[in-house]
């Protein structure tokens, strides 16, 4: 359908539209007009992504002069695929004369088609295998000596790109499409995608490509200001931000770094003997400053400096690390110093300033030298023509650490732990530089792009996010869901079948009574609910424990009488296959249960919509591990800087995870699902009130304090009610489905009012 929002003609890929989608578009459009940032919460299952994509693309179509580019950030590759599928649907409804290009971008591992490089297993080895074939010096050597292997895909891409930089015809390209296209043409899909993001109208990629400065500076540096950046499913964005700037150093890292340094020393000696001019040239270049880096070959570019502001890039590298051997000595001293620190017997916590001061006094490395470590190392490795970069990860980690610690004076802390809190008998020293301030990583994004849209199904309380991320949205709004019928049914279950309270509180979680009650709950529910049931547990260890107990109690066998059981494990391959099988089991009518972990990979981005999830059971409240030093340090920072109380933050964090888990069951208003919060703590007002509004509005008072039998009764009633036919457009005065005519009428009414 096609309709007007003020001056923009919006193309929407469906025949009808929900009123909240329309409202969402109106607000989004105003934010784009104002060239400001927006924070929008809209319940899951209301077609947020479709609304967002269609508005922004329509907006850029109606402002052809502004050359608006659209960066859509998802957290995972499979979400990227979902988004691209929606885009494909939308593209088929756009006017045919709009030559738009949309593509997904991922790492070499997901895009490479060269069998030689692809045979490597991990991402880093694929990266370095690629580099071995495509680095500029390898290619120039191969030009003289044809026996040196190069990548034919890259070569033919390079030739084609030289003739015509715009290589992809308009359309939507998923990773699979890019690979297929690359295979067909014989072009390297990875570099093709990298090249094409300059010309693409829509780029879909992972958060890291914008937030992680190491990646952002190569992938995203060419994005101009006229970009709309969208962070979808952004309820965890603060965690992603702090992760992007956190580094930890272990004993293995330092040992590896020492080995790396020895190898570098050999290389330097070799070059001194054969090609001393090269090292001298590097020295001269560094004297002039780092700005030179701009004209590197496409294939040599590499994860760039983690955190340097632009002005520093123009500064010259400090004199005492310009020479390779001097820099090497500095790194050796640094590694030595860190080794000494790791031998601490007690937990130590200190700020970056104190740490830098101590490095300076004990190892003689000042802040500025630390700050340039990353770039200096990068330059050195390029000069030494080292291609097997995956061997040098350890020294890179150390340099990342040094640069971060030398750059930021606040918002970080350095924590040295001699052993893991939970396994005190196993010595495993670790030195962690942990970031506490999410705004540091995202600041460049807010500064650089004209509109940043942060959106998710759960952003409650919505006023907290601007504080955590330190930005001023022009629009910050939470939408409610207009429902044709009560298609979601949240319940709080506080007691088991024997009327005793259930909880995952620390003192109760291993109580066999609680375990049995949880098991009985699941058993009753799988017998009553059709198709798919999803269970979320608070952690992997808790899940393993409870699954073992259920197995011993025989509960698991009884569950299997009704449904097949699939479990998320820490192995992603296994989990992916389990998910795939789970869907098959739901499709074929066998029915299945999926056990998963809140904060796990499945909870982050897999939808359990329609028959894939008719019921979610959240066993317990997914609090973070509160004894973790990092968390404690972060809480302290939040209290001092933003005046956020520890308890409040922990509850907020746990409840957003819980809401996120249960929110995965609804995809549209025709869909339906139940949600059981199985913990007595959910009945407390301070916990419950932190749930997003769209869940709270359906949480009746009668459903707040249930036992297993009552919940079962409610579930049966609910399922029976959902099986009745209903009017999709909404009955009574309120319409929940708008057609094109309805929208036209609404626009007229609005005109009349003026």
């Amino acid at each position: 359908m096609k309709f007007q929002i003020e001056d923009v003609t919006v193309y929407f890929p469906y025949e009808h539209i929900y009123p909240e989608q329309h409202a969402y578009m109106v607000d989004l459009k105003r934010a784009l007009d104002a060239r400001g940032h927006a924070l929008l919460e809209m319940p899951t299952g209301t077609g947020k992504t479709a609304a967002l994509l269609s508005l922004i693309l329509s907006y850029s179509l109606s402002h052809p002069s502004s050359s608006l580019k659209f960066l859509y950030c998802t957290r995972t590759v499979h979400e990227m695929e979902k988004t691209l599928a929606e885009l494909r649907l939308l593209f088929s409804h756009l006017p045919p004369s709009s030559p738009l290009l949309a593509l997904g971008l991922s790492s070499r591992k997901n895009l490479c088609v060269n069998p030689a490089a692809l045979s490597a297993s991990s991402r880093d080895s694929v990266d370095s295998a690629c580099r071995r074939l495509t680095a500029s010096w390898v290619r120039s050597a191969a030009a003289e000596n044809p026996s040196i292997p190069t990548c034919e895909f890259f070569e033919s891409f390079d030739r084609a790109a030289a003739d015509n930089p715009v290589l992809l015809p308009p359309g939507v390209y998923t990773l699979q499409d890019l690979r297929a296209f690359g295979r067909e043409k014989g072009w390297c899909p990875y570099f093709l995608a990298r090249q094409m993001i300059r010309y693409a109208n829509v780029v879909v990629y992972s958060y890291q490509y914008l937030l992680d400065p190491k990646v952002a500076s190569i992938i995203s540096k060419e994005m101009q200001r006229e970009c709309v950046v969208v962070f979808d499913e952004a309820h965890n964005i603060d965690n992603v931000c702090i992760e992007a700037l956190s580094v930890s150093v272990r004993k293995q890292t330092l040992d590896g770094a020492s080995r790396n340094l020895n190898r570098i020393a050999q290389e330097i000696d070799r070059f001194k003997a054969t090609d001393a001019g090269r090292l001298r040239a590097e020295y001269n270049r560094l004297v002039e400053g780092l700005a030179q880096r701009g004209n590197l070959a496409l294939t040599d570019a590499w994860l760039a400096n983690p955190a340097l502001p632009d002005n520093i890039l123009k500064e010259a590298v400090p004199g005492n690390i310009r020479r390779a051997e001097h820099f090497l000595a500095v790194l050796r001293r640094l590694v030595q110093y860190l080794k000494g620190r790791l031998q601490a017997e007690n937990v130590e916590t200190e700020g970056p300033v104190a740490f830098v001061a101590s490095v300076n006094s004990q190892a003689g490395i000042d802040q500025k030298m630390l700050r340039f470590c990353y770039d200096r190392l990068h330059s050195l490795i390029l000069t030494l023509e080292i291609t097997d970069t995956d061997e040098f990860l350890h020294i890179q980690t150390v340099c990342d650490f040094a640069t971060l610690v030398g750059t930021y004076t606040r918002g970080f802390s350095i924590i040295i732990e001699p052993f893991d809190e939970r396994m005190p008998h196993v010595p495993d020293p670790i030195l962690q530089l942990s970031c506490h301030d999410a705004s540091l990583a995202i600041k460049p994004v807010f500064d650089r792009f004209q509109s940043v849209v942060i959106t998710s199904g759960t952003l409650s309380p919505i006023d907290l996010y601007p504080r955590l991320l330190n930005f001023n949205p022009v629009i910050s709004r939470s939408f409610t869901m207009s429902l044709t019928r009560d298609c979601i049914c949240p319940m709080v279950l506080t007691r088991g079948s024997d009327q005793l309270p259930v909880s995952t509180k620390f003192d109760m979680r291993s109580d066999p009574g609680v375990v049995r009650n949880y098991g009985r709950l699941l058993l009753e529910m799988v017998a009553a609910v059709p198709d798919g049931v999803v269970c979320f547990f608070v952690s992997y260890s808790y899940m393993d424990g409870i699954v073992n107990s259920w197995n011993e109690m025989g509960i698991l066998q009884d569950v299997m009488q009704h449904k097949l059981v699939f479990i998320e494990t820490q192995d992603v391959v296994e989990t992916t296959l389990a998910l795939d099988n789970y869907r098959k089991a739901c499709d074929c009518g066998r029915g299945a249960v999926f056990f998963s972990v809140a904060r796990g990979k499945v909870a982050e981005g897999i939808d359990f919509d329609r028959h894939y999830g008719r019921l979610v059971i959240m066993f317990g409240v997914p609090f973070q591990y509160t004894l973790s030093r990092i968390l404690l340090a972060r809480l302290e920072y939040l209290r001092e800087t933003f005046q956020i109380k520890e308890g409040d933050f922990l509850t907020f964090d746990a409840l957003r995870q819980a809401a996120q888990c249960v929110g995965r069951v609804i995809r549209s208003k025709a869909d339906y699902g139940m949600m059981i919060f199985a913990d007595k703590r959910y009945s407390r007002h301070d916990k419950r009130s932190k749930l997003p509004g769209w869940i709270l509005s359906h949480l009746h008072d009668a459903h707040l304090n249930l036992s297993t039998d009552m919940a079962l009764h409610i579930a049966r009633e609910f399922l029976r009610r959902m099986a009745q036919p209903y009017d999709k457009t909404g009955s009574g005065g309120k319409k929940t489905l708008l057609s094109q005519e309805d929208l036209a009428r609404m626009a007229e009414d609005a005109m009349d009012m003026y």
Binding site: K214, E243, N551
Partner: protein
């Protein structure tokens, strides 16, 4: 281990006080000598006649041990002990001895090939005794473990259990670990653990007997279950066959790698690992409690319960395609290997991609915003029989294969020019060859000409009409009506017929009887029609009637089958079945 002497009171029923004395048990005899030498209650029983043992619960009123002669009747030799620890010593001894006897007895009674291997269980006991010392050294526990494997022959119907549940619990009370392997379970093991399957095919019977194989397997399983990774590593180092069971399953890993390529991209979390730059070693927040680091350095794979459960569910989902009688383990193993080869061969990647893409796009659509999708379907309600017949006719003919050549569209369009050229060529050929030796015999030519004429006239007849009109239009009116009438009634009858299966009530039974009779009548009528139509149409009509007859035949076949089955087990009728 050989002899046990214990103070006990012997009694014949539970309630009487009993006679105090000494109970002496050797490996083949139970001897009771009362303290009072005058008492007549002396006992000297061979262990072979004892079939079972019962005992009171720890902590109950009396510490009883009942050696039963006949498990069904009850009764036997009851001994009361002063305390439970004495009783438990005796009980465990009895349990062990009985276990050995039973295994031995089983093998003597029957001499089927599989069970002959079970005869080795005495040997297994010996083996486990020698193993015991080593294990005791490893376990540093004083308990005596014995391993007993029974290859049972009755199917226990535990198909939907997870494999690791099959170990009937580590009975600490009897200090005995019993693994029971039924053919069902063996099949399940083969399906869920390809490495074991492969090992079986390689090793049995060339390198070891089936009995030894399962003993090894059970030991590995036992080590795994007790989470004794040190012992497992030690044993695996000594015994390479055992190691097979404990190591990571490489076939599974390969399969997973293949499957992951065909997985729905919106589920593919493996792709994230390649995209997530945070996963660079030591980047991101490591020790905040949310991530649990697993130690994968140990060579012995840490197979977790979760993995077993996932694997089990996956196998259930794949379904069992074996048509081999579960019995001989070797044939089962080979059949499974064959079915696996077939399934791996038929997968093609190209179709998979397209299918996935369609699937994903269907998944992304929001259903209620879309106009309802109208799937093509034929309404069950038959308002206009003629229309229904026409809509079904192509399907029926298609099912027959392409034998319905008469209905094939013939290209009659031949431009004048082409016809002329063709004729000219014919004439020139005749000219060249002369008419002396005609190409075709005159009689044959006449026959062909006649045939052609007839065909032409009939085609002209149906050419003039609506091209969609089927062969029905050319039939005489009464035949047509009759056919349509039968067609609808057959459809209706069949619908009722099939919907009444399975027959659970007497009403349904009678209904099926009536339906069958009605259909038999129609069957006869159809035959009559086929014979009565004029010869021009006979072929066409038989083509039309054929699918109806086939449908009826299928129904009759089903009916007969059911009838046979029922009469076969008429001895024990199912619940609620009334004839």
């Amino acid at each position: 281990m050989a002899v046990i002497n214990m103070a006990a009171r012997y009694k014949t029923t539970v309630k009487e006080p009993g006679i105090p004395g000494v109970l002496k048990m050797t490996e083949d005899k139970v001897i009771f000598s009362p303290h009072d030498p005058r008492s007549a209650m002396k006992l000297n029983v061979d262990f072979r006649i004892i079939k079972g043992h019962k005992f009171s619960k720890d902590g109950s009123k009396q510490a009883l041990l009942n050696l039963t002669k006949d498990p069904e009747k009850g009764g036997g030799y009851i001994f009361e002990f002063d305390n439970f620890s004495d009783r438990n010593v005796c009980r465990d001894f009895v349990g062990k001895v009985l276990g050995r006897f039973q295994a031995g007895v089983l093998s003597k009674q029957q001499d089927q090939p599989v069970l002959e291997k079970a005869a080795g269980s005495g040997h297994a006991e010996q083996l486990s005794v020698t193993e015991m010392e080593r294990r005791m050294k490893l376990l540093r526990e004083d308990r005596i473990y014995s391993m007993m494997i029974l290859i049972k022959h009755q199917s226990s119907g535990q198909g939907s259990k997870v494999l690791c549940l099959q170990m009937s619990g580590q009975q600490l009370m009897t200090n005995k670990v019993t693994f029971s392997l039924t053919p069902e379970i063996i099949h399940q093991i083969f399906a869920e653990k390809p490495a074991v399957h492969r090992a079986f095919l390689n090793l049995v019977p060339t390198k070891m007997t089936e009995k030894d194989f399962w003993t090894k397997y059970c030991r590995a399983e036992y080590l795994h279950r007790t989470k004794n990774s040190v012992a497992a590593a030690a044993e695996a180092a000594e015994d390479e066959e055992l190691a097979v069971f404990l190591m990571h399953d490489d076939i599974l890993a390969n399969e997973a790698r293949n499957k992951i390529r065909r997985v729905d991209p919106t589920l593919d979390m493996e792709a994230d690992v390649g995209d997530d730059y945070i996963h660079l070693p030591d980047h991101g927040i490591l020790r905040d409690g949310s991530k649990e680091i697993v130690d994968t350095e140990n060579e012995i794979a840490k197979r977790t319960l979760s993995q077993d459960i996932n694997r089990h569910a996956a196998v259930v989902l794949e379904g069992r395609a074996l048509d081999v009688e579960l019995g001989d383990t070797r044939t089962v193993a080979e059949a499974l290997a064959r079915s696996k080869q077939e399934s791996s061969a038929e997968i093609s990647d190209e179709n998979g991609n397209l299918e996935r893409q369609i699937r994903v796009s269907r998944m992304t659509e929001i259903e209620d915003l879309q106009d309802p999708i109208n799937f093509p379907y034929a309404p069950l309600l038959i308002k206009d029989p003629r229309q229904y017949f026409d809509s079904q006719q192509p399907n029926a003919l298609k099912a027959l294969g392409d034998s319905g050549a008469g209905v094939k569209p013939v290209d009659f369009s031949l431009s004048t020019e082409e016809a002329y050229i063709y004729l000219m060529r014919q004439i020139s050929e005749v000219k060249a060859r002369g008419l002396k030796s005609p190409v075709v015999q005159p009689e044959a030519a006449l026959r062909v000409l006649n045939g052609l004429n007839q065909h032409l006239s009939s085609t002209r007849y149906h050419l003039g009409k609506n091209p969609q009109e089927s062969v029905l239009g050319r039939l005489p009116n009464w035949t047509k009506d009759e056919l349509l009438h039968h067609w609808t009634s057959i459809q209706e009858l069949l619908r009722h017929f099939w919907s009444s299966y399975p027959i659970t009530t007497a009403y349904l039974y009678n209904k099926v009887q009536r339906l069958k009779d009605a259909m038999a009548q129609i069957y006869q009528k159809l035959q009559d029609i086929k014979e009565s139509v004029p010869s021009d149409f006979r072929h066409q009509v038989s083509l039309l009637v054929q699918p109806m007859l086939q449908a009826l035949d299928a129904a009759f076949g089903h009916y007969d089958n059911e009838q046979q089955k029922k009469s076969g087990k008429s001895g024990n009728k199912a619940n609620g079945f009334v004839q």
